[in-house]
């Protein structure tokens, strides 16, 4: 209880001390908060994106088989299905039809994909949100495409095929479906001129995930022109892409970070003559060196904790409520279609702790060290001031 009273008394003095150098301390807290805000925004954003992608991909097939001709992806013959299905452990093999389509009207690339639900509804499509906005530049009231609107597609021979929008894909999956258009098999083959005995790739379900590498090896043995891709590999690629983008942002921010280090170092290491005088007075009136260090510790901790929590809070608002307006163009999307979506907040405690140990702790230590040097001077120096 006594120790608590002492801490309270010293903390009390520290807080009124901070109030005395208001301008200097407010400037420092602002710069500090800004740095934490930038770092935390990047961390929150990349982490949430990865989590989001992983959640969406969890329903993706365990394995996809493509055909490569001279190193380039080509259509896969349907008869491969039978031989692959024979492999022990394979539960199902389903052919997929999909491809990229450049729309000259909107200047964007769309991903067209055949959906079995539309197979008996030729002439209808379901579109992602990005497509909805991009394909409707002339629409009144600034609305995107709605149900029953028609999108014209230019087929392989130059004729135009108008397809009617029958629905929009759910907003929640926008990260990977922004540029997606679901079409019927008939329409897809019409647009891309793909023969009936060919598919874009095959997707496999297997009974035991541990057998995936063995099954993949067997497929390449039977069909040397194929390339099996595992879900894990796609996830790894996403992780790498988002990490790389996060890294690019952090590199850009490195300058800000170093500027802050210099500022903090200067503030923390250089005690002003006034501060030295105060330390002398405190020692003379009976404060121990440890009491002065405790005071300086509280001072550093108060500044850095305040900045840390404010920075984290602002970063949270920025990423999860304001859709990361500051650096979304670099971190999201890679085409003309930027997904518009609000991330579900995922916060990684490990990342917060790392940020804490890289900012709050060094700053607090940097505040204590110069005070320690001053606090060890003889108290009688104050008699000669």
């Amino acid at each position: 209880m006594k120790a608590l009273e002492k801490q309270r008394n010293i903390l009390d003095f520290t807080l009124s001390s901070l109030g005395r150098r208001k301008g200097k301390n407010i400037a420092l807290v602002m710069v500090y908060t800004f740095v934490i805000f930038l770092l935390a925004s990047v961390l929150f954003f990349t982490h949430s994106l990865k989590k989001e992608a992983a959640l969406i991909l969890q329903d993706a097939p365990a394995m996809t088989v493509q055909r490569l001709v001279a190193g380039r992806q080509d259509m896969i013959p349907m008869h491969y299905i039978d031989s692959i299905r024979q492999i022990k452990g394979v539960q199902s093999v389903v052919p997929r039809l999909w491809g990229y389509y450049y729309d000259a009207l909107s200047g964007a690339n769309y991903t067209l994909m055949v959906n079995a639900d539309l197979n008996d509804r030729a002439g209808e499509i379901i579109i992602g949100n990005g497509v909805s906005w991009r394909s409707a530049p002339g629409k009144r009231n600034n609305q995107g495409l709605q149900k029953n609107d028609i999108i014209p597609f230019k087929t392989y021979d130059g004729t135009v095929l108008g397809l009617k929008v029958k629905g929009l894909l759910p907003f929640a999956s926008e990260l990977v479906t922004a540029d997606l258009i679901l079409v019927s098999e008939t329409d897809f083959r019409k647009i891309f001129a793909i023969a009936n005995d060919q598919a874009t790739d095959l997707v496999l379900q297997v009974r035991n995930a541990k057998e995936l590498p063995t099954i993949a090896a067997k497929i390449t043995q039977i069909h040397p022109d194929t390339r099996p891709i595992l879900r894990q590999e796609i996830l790894r690629t996403y992780d790498a892409v988002f990490d790389w983008r996060g890294g690019v942002i952090l590199m850009v921010l490195a300058g800000v970070f170093f500027a802050f280090i210099i500022l903090a170092w200067d503030k923390a290491t250089g005690l002003s003559a006034e501060e030295k005088r105060e330390i002398g007075i405190l020692k003379a009136i009976g404060w121990e060196t440890s009491d002065i260090l405790l005071m300086k510790f509280w001072e550093g901790a108060a500044v850095s904790l305040m900045a840390f929590f404010m920075g984290i809070f602002l970063a949270y608002l920025h990423v999860f409520l304001a859709s990361s307006i500051l650096f979304a163009p670099v971190l999201k999307g890679w085409s003309v279609l930027y997904p518009h979506f609000r991330l579900t907040p995922y916060i990684n405690a490990y990342q917060i702790a790392t940020l804490f140990f890289l900012t709050v702790i060094p700053y607090t230590v940097a505040t204590i060290v110069p005070s320690w040097r001053s606090a060890t001077i003889d108290p009688d120096s104050v008699m000669r001031m």
Partner: protein, 228 residues
């Protein structure tokens, strides 16, 4: 109460600018009295006062405080003695700017871990006693010379010390305020406190409050005599 035995204090020892501030001082100070250290500038009054108040260690010699040898005590214990036994009033008052009169007075008691509310009450009582209770929440830089002096006295008294040490307390005060200061010292002496003053101001050493004058010159005690 305090015994100094063959005290010598050298600054910058072994360096070209070596300076002997005090040489061979022997002095015995009894409790419940007022003693003035008198002498010109550079005679060693402040250095001797620092040594008496456990603020500085002598280069050689022995100091005993209430029969306890304190010369070789570690810094931590010296700080504790300084906090509990002595109350200091400095020449420039050395108040901490930017905080209130009340906070300045409470400062020396913070390391004692006293309950904040009761400490605040004691500080307020002291300020009332010294007639500056009304200025408790004012910042110290707004104070007049007399008010700053009373704040410094209240700060020196907060830990209820047995010995008050004041170095040239009237150096920045006019005659009226100097007389007022000596009156406060008289009251404190009456309460049983020991007063140690260093001054070359006649208002101090010719005051009736002073029981004994120790005269110094060139770092030596030239007269450790009795009253004025």
């Amino acid at each position: 109460m305090i015994h100094l035995q063959d005290i010598r204090k050298v600054f910058n020892a072994g360096k070209p600018n070596e300076f002997v501030a005090i040489e061979g001082v022997n002095l015995a100070i009894d409790s419940h009295g007022a003693i003035a250290l008198k002498g010109p500038s550079g005679s060693g009054k402040t250095t001797l006062l620092s040594i008496l108040g456990c603020m500085a260690r002598p280069t050689s010699g022995r100091i005993t405080l209430q029969e306890r040898e304190i010369t070789s005590l570690p810094e931590r214990f010296l700080t504790e003695i300084r906090r509990e036994t002595f109350g200091f009033i400095f020449q420039q008052f050395n108040l901490i700017k930017g905080i209130t009169v009340l906070e300045n007075v409470m400062l020396p008691a913070y390391p004692n871990a006293e309950n904040h509310a009761s400490l605040k009450k004691r500080a307020m009582d002291l300020l009332d006693l010294l007639n500056i209770g009304g200025k408790a929440l004012a910042k110290v830089e707004w104070l007049s010379g007399g008010e700053a002096q009373r704040t410094a006295i209240a700060r020196a008294l907060i830990n209820n010390p047995t010995i008050i040490i004041a170095d040239e307390p009237t150096a920045h005060l006019d005659t009226h305020l100097s007389a007022e200061f000596m009156e406060i010292m008289r009251q404190l002496k009456q309460e049983g406190k020991t007063i140690l003053l260093a001054s070359h101001d006649p208002i101090v050493y010719e005051s009736k409050v002073i029981d004994r004058i120790v005269e110094m010159r060139d770092g030596k005690v030239v007269s450790a005599g009795g009253g004025p």
